[in-house]
């Protein structure tokens, strides 16, 4: 009975609609079967844009509120002389910049180091790239344009080292613990 039902339906189809061209279902008869019936299917992948930055503790794709600290301890023999002081702790600093939106504007901003009312200019701190391929922006300078490493992907990482230019002879400062906090920002230009 089921077979007879199918035959009837097929016959009606052949008489009424010899060729039906549709989109995602299609019936083709006769010599048209050589080329065949076709049906389309669309695909879409949505990739969100992001910029991820790591300076010091944490992982680049994980929020972490821990602030790293680089310390310089000037010894008794160094305090009255001019000279470069290396960090006593907290360096080198692990850094990473990961994004998928093309060029990234990268900047570093911070106030002078202070101990009460006494100050040491932030410009006395110098940064160098100890390893990797992420440059350090100038403190309070124009944003550094970080180029993609592939297509519109930025995937840069490495370590930074810092030094303090102590001017104990030419520009001595009162004793104290001088500190500041630098904020690094990566954003769309």
């Amino acid at each position: 009975m089921k077979k007879a039902f199918v035959l009837k339906s097929a016959l009606a189809l052949a008489l009424a609609t010899p060729l039906i061209a549709s989109a995602e279902s299609q019936l083709v008869t006769g010599t048209g079967t050589a080329a065949g019936a076709s049906a389309r299917l669309d695909f879409r992948i949505i990739i969100p844009g992001f910029i991820a930055l790591r300076v010091g503790p944490g992982a680049v794709l994980t929020n972490n509120s821990t602030v790293g600290a680089v310390e310089f301890t000037v010894s008794e023999t160094q305090v009255t002389a001019d000279g470069t002081i290396n960090p006593s702790s907290g360096a080198p600093v692990d850094v990473a910049l990961l994004s998928n939106v093309g060029n990234v504007a990268f900047e570093a901003s911070g106030a002078d180091l202070t101990a009460g009312t006494d100050t040491i200019p932030l410009s006395r701190i110098s940064a160098t790239v100890a390893s990797g391929n992420l440059a350090h922006p100038t403190f309070n300078g124009a944003p550094l344009s970080v180029a993609p490493t592939s297509g519109r992907i930025v995937n840069r990482s490495g370590t930074w080292n810092f030094t303090y230019n102590h001017q104990g002879a030419t520009d001595p400062v009162p004793a104290g613990t001088y500190s500041t906090q630098v904020t690094y920002t990566a954003s769309l230009p």
Partner: protein
Amino acid sequence: MLRHGLVLSTALTAALFAFEAQAWSLSIASAPRRVFLHVGNGTIDGNNSLVNRVEVTVPVNQLGNGTPLPMNSTSTQSSSLYGDNYLTCPTPASQVMIGASYRRNNNNSPASARLSVTSPANLTNASGDSIPFSEISWTVSAAGSANPGVIPAGTFNGGTQTLATIPANTYIENCHSFRYANSALRAAGTYNGRVVYTLSAP
């Protein structure tokens, strides 16, 4: 229903044999040569202008981590177009039904039709970035069937792939679930691409 094989005769035994060999591969009546194909939503004997879409939004914290992500479909086609309204793909949001049939009168040629799919090399976005179509693969299923691979699982290759050979006077169908390999970090954007399935009997 024949598909469920509740027969008590020789005819039923034959149907059971067919069920075990290639489900869902169903016999249909012969007719002057014709091929029918639907992918997702379709109409057995009519026009259907709806092109379904399969898509995924990658979570930021999973971008390019190598964990495949299932893709969702806009298809609502859960019931078979074979004629028995069988619930072949009960969850069309994750299953795109593909049904195909080839009919001819006895002793006419060819003996079978070929089902193939053609994909472009890449999905692309408005900025010119691309994702290879080979990042998309599919698994197959067919509710109630012990052998859902009548159209086998696979991965797009950016060209034309033969999927199945359909003997004359046979209707085949199963459900395709797609996933994105997510094997690399991609530039931001919405990537689109279209594949074309073809059933031909040259």
